[in-house]
């Protein structure tokens, strides 16, 4: 596709449930990033992939959060046992080469609401 695609655009779930958020980066972009943005705040780094491997997962808040990118393209962010505090906009971004050597292209985001 022309840009970074994220699905679903909106997800409402109940506390304790499992959710998956999907990101399809720009074709050919090897670097992929997940960020979390709460209302009125800047994007908060979660995890960075270079190819298939998670090169930096230091931003994941706890072990309920996990992300994969098995074929070096599409990535899935997985959240187990969701909590109300997980409610936020989850943004995916990709860039052409290695980390932060150029602009990040963001998707429209997946808004997660945990009731």
């Amino acid at each position: 596709g022309a840009g970074v695609s994220q699905t679903p655009s909106n997800k409402v779930t109940e506390k304790g449930k499992y959710v998956e958020l999907r990101c399809d980066p720009i074709s050919g972009h090897t670097a992929l990033y997940w960020y979390r943005q709460s209302l009125g705040q800047g994007p908060e780094f979660l995890i960075y992939f270079q190819g298939t491997g998670a090169a930096d997962d230091s931003g994941l808040p706890n072990d309920r959060f996990f992300a994969v990118r098995p074929e070096g393209s599409v990535s899935t962010l997985k959240i187990q046992r969701t909590e109300r505090g997980d409610s936020a906009m989850y943004l995916c971004a990709s860039s052409l080469n290695s980390r932060y050597t150029g602009e990040l292209f963001f998707g429209e985001g997946s808004r997660l609401t945990v009731l």
Binding site: G40, Q41, G42, F45, D56, S58, Y100, E103, E108
Partner: protein, 109 residues
């Protein structure tokens, strides 16, 4: 820890007035990027500054990177209603890339 601060948090201007947002880091940055996020939208890249003292212009937007590479500014001349949004700086610390909290700009017609 590595933290990027931005001021002001909010700015309301009359259309045609100028606007400036400032970004500050306690430690030296490798480079800095600026993004704009329209209401309900996603961050869109504006520019990257790499060199100490660098100044770049994009039409009515002027970006500066401080001599010590610890601060940066974005200045908009003669704001228009299309400038409405939140402007984020993002600092590259080499191992980490940290977004500031943003400055939300409102432009009154």
């Amino acid at each position: 820890g590595q933290q990027v601060m931005q001021i002001p948090q909010y700015q309301h201007v009359q259309e045609g007035e100028d606007f400036t947002t400032y970004c500050n880091s306690s430690t030296t940055l490798s480079n800095i990027q600026w993004y704009k996020q329209r209401p309900g939208g996603h961050p869109v890249f504006l520019i990257q500054l790499v060199k100490s003292g660098e100044v770049k212009k994009q039409k009515r937007l002027t970006f500066q990177f401080g001599e010590a590479k610890k601060n940066s500014s974005l200045h908009i001349t003669a704001t228009q209603t299309t400038d409405v949004g939140t402007y984020f700086c993002a600092g590259d610390y080499g191992q980490n890339f940290v977004f500031g909290p943003g400055t939300r700009l409102s432009v009154l017609p």
